[in-house]
Amino acid sequence: MPCAETLHTQAFIDGELTGREAEIAEAHIAGCADCQAFCAAAAALSDGIRRHAPRYAAPDRLKARLDRALAKAEGRPTRTRASPGARGAFWRGAVGGALGGVGLGGLAAALAVLAVMPPSPASLADRVVGAHTRALISGKVIEVASNDHHTVKPWFAGRIDLSPPVADFAQQGFKLTGGRLDKAANAPAAVVVYRHGLHEIDLFVWSDHGGRLPGSATRLGYHAIFWKKGDLDFAAVSDMEPGELATFSNLVRGQAE
């Protein structure tokens, strides 16, 4: 195996590192040819899988079968409680196994700690910028590509339990290009992706859990603007000028629901 830091580099491109950990990994990659090659190969592979390896959809036949099987199982509700121990055990076992592993390495322990801490406004800025740059590096910016909000908005349904506002602002120079799922503030986030000239803009939307937001922030040359609306938190992230990003976020904030 080429570089001893390969697993850290991999954790970085998989979006598992945040804050200081991510900065350390990023700095290492910048100076390590092996890790740069690893990133390029992993990104090409990821891209290849998205383009060439199909996601199989459940056949209708299976849906019908399942419907019958569930109806049958429903008819015998007593069996539900017959073996709670055994049913619960594999899940607890799986969780126990994972927690056991956390003790093994400093990195794993750090990941676990990061995952349970509520993010401060400052680290929230790190996280959304980190998520944005990781998406750019790994080429995973867009999971559903479309400039039609009638395609992008329903795509999120069933994938995440919130409905982000999606609109095209092509007239104002911000073209809707698609969406993906990501994470912000330890919570799943819907990301609506826009393009302004050569700049990619990620609009993160996640459920408000009462966390404070930073307002605006700049990290590694990327700008982020945060706001709350209703029970949702928003962050717009891009490498374009702060003024243009403000124009964009005002458009989004002002749009009719």
Partner: protein, 175 residues
Amino acid sequence: MSDHRQRFEALALPHLDAAYNLARWLSRSPSDAEDIVQDAMLRAFRGFERLRGEDVRPWLMTIVRNCWRDCAAQRHRRGHETLPSEPDGAELVFEGADAETEVMRASDARQLRAAIATLPEEYREVLILREMEDLSYREIADAVGAPIGTVMSRLARARAALRDKWLAEDDHALR
């Protein structure tokens, strides 16, 4: 339909395609995948009341993966091995490409799918969970019952194997 079942369907059915996709890639067989998903959904139906605040999708992925393991163990006891089915290209649709590029891409696709299908099981499952189902390391560790460190090294090996098998064949990265 009971409340119980309605709640289950609202929770689990949005992930049916993901469950089938995982079972299909793990088992490499459409008919096994259907059996595995049915088994998994029934197990999930019996157990979902105990789900407390966890994400449904990783939980369901875990059950699918366990059902696949059970199914594979049964086959092994009966003494027959599932052969990887011939990767098929029928469902791939190419838009706006000329015939030659199409053929090249179809062959790319076949090679990549064959390379994934022939990965050892331990590598294949972490790769599919990460690259297709987008689970975090923690969720993958839960699903396969291995420490996070093991998940990380298996994932790196899976990627290295595919890099050698697929990327090395010619320069797919540049297309």
